[in-house]
Amino acid sequence: MRVFLIAVTSMIAVAVGAYYGLNLIQKPADVAFAVSGARLDAPGQPGG
């Protein structure tokens, strides 16, 4: 059980690290899937 809890904690830690890592290099969907000439509102933020 102890190993399982350590594994789950480690999994969450790596996932949190992935969150910060992806924030640095991953483009948001409204940018990634639009061409440079298009202007789209950010998802969930009309007019943003």
Binding site: A7, V14, S36
Partner: protein, 328 residues
């Protein structure tokens, strides 16, 4: 009629090659626009071209693509066949396992549990197993929600709750891909030497793994079924990582057609893995007495080990110290 004329205008302006690929069609005027457009059939053009593209002068070449007809096929596949394939694999596997349980019952340790145990998996082996397994469970559930959530979960919990749940599951799907991939790599490095297929595995499969009788085929640390699970996880997990990271970074690695193919492959491999892992989870928990101990405490009953991994137990005993304690 208006729609056909509009498409004719669009295509005539954008794709001079379109007419070259349809020689039977009426020649368009020099202006490039045929107002009658009787010969222009939208579906014919979409079928004939992988992409409807124009000429542009801006640096972003993706802007040249006006229509990508394969996207319609991809969307239809996601909305139709993929849902049915998902239901068939998930529900079918659960039904099969339930039927197996009703017929065979729980596979017990012959003569009941003994008093002596042997270390089957060390702490690090169990750690990497649970990192991979826990990540995979969330990835599987969140992936199934992407495919079927709007049909299954949305009617049950309503739009607001579904939106919140799906948002969190989508984030989980992205972020837990990293511990899952790490776990698969660790398992490959640590366990590959025990999972090289050999003739003994064929005999194990020939005897049905001992699932249907009281005789158990010979086996070392991993039997034929466990080796199959190992390679499904390693190869399937590798394929999921490759296709998943392709989708996570749109247009970095491939174009939109490549991403559609990656999504189809990602979904297909995922479903195969879900089917296989349901079987693995069943036999490692309720299906077989004593099996879960191997990944829980790491200590398994010696009688269980003698029945299912006799050659491995003999190897461990041979390495044991004179006092009888395992060398591990």
């Amino acid at each position: 009629m208006f729609k056909a004329a509009l498409i004719a205008l669009l295509l005539a302006a954008a794709i001079p090659t379109a007419h070259a690929q349809a020689p039977s069609r009426q020649e368009a005027p020099a202006s490039g626009f045929n107002p009658t457009a009787t010969e222009v059939k939208e579906q014919d053009l979409l079928n004939a071209l992988s992409k409807v593209e124009g000429r542009i002068s801006i640096p972003d070449t993706r802007a040249a693509t006006l229509i990508q007809p394969a996207g319609q096929t991809w969307r239809d596949y996601r909305r139709g066949p993929l849902l049915w394939i998902t239901a068939a694999i998930v529900l079918g596997m659960m039904a099969l396992l339930t039927l197996f349980y009703l017929i065979r019952g729980r596979i017990r340790i012959e003569g009941g549990r003994g008093t002596r145990t042997v270390l089957r998996f060390g702490a690090f082996e169990r750690f990497m197993h649970w990192v991979t397994a826990a990540s995979w469970c969330v990835l599987a559930v969140s992936g199934l929600n992407i495919v079927a959530g709007s049909r299954v979960l949305l009617p049950l919990i309503g739009q607001d709750a579904f939106s919140t749940v799906s948002g969190w599951l989508k984030y989980s799907h992205n972020f837990l891909a990293f511990p899952f991939t790490s776990g698969v790599v660790l398992m490959l490095l640590v366990w590959v030497r025990h999972n090289i297929p050999n003739r003994m595995d064929l005999e194990w499969f020939r005897q049905g793994g001992g699932l249907f009788g009281h005789r158990h085929p010979h086996s070392r640390k991993f039997n034929g079924g466990q080796k199959a699970v190992f390679w499904i996880v390693v190869l399937g997990g590798g394929a999921l990582a490759a296709t998943g990271f392709t989708l996570m970074f749109p247009f970095y690695i491939t174009d939109v057609t490549g991403m559609q193919l990656a999504q189809i492959a990602h979904g297909g491999v995922s479903l195969l893995m879900i089917g296989a892992m349901l079987g693995h989870i069943y036999i490692g928990s309720v299906g077989m007495e004593g099996a879960l101990d191997a990944m829980n405490s790491g200590q398994v009953d010696r009688k269980w080990a003698a029945a299912h991994h006799d050659l491995w137990l003999a190897e461990v005993d041979a390495k044991s110290t004179p006092s009888g304690h395992p060398a591990e």
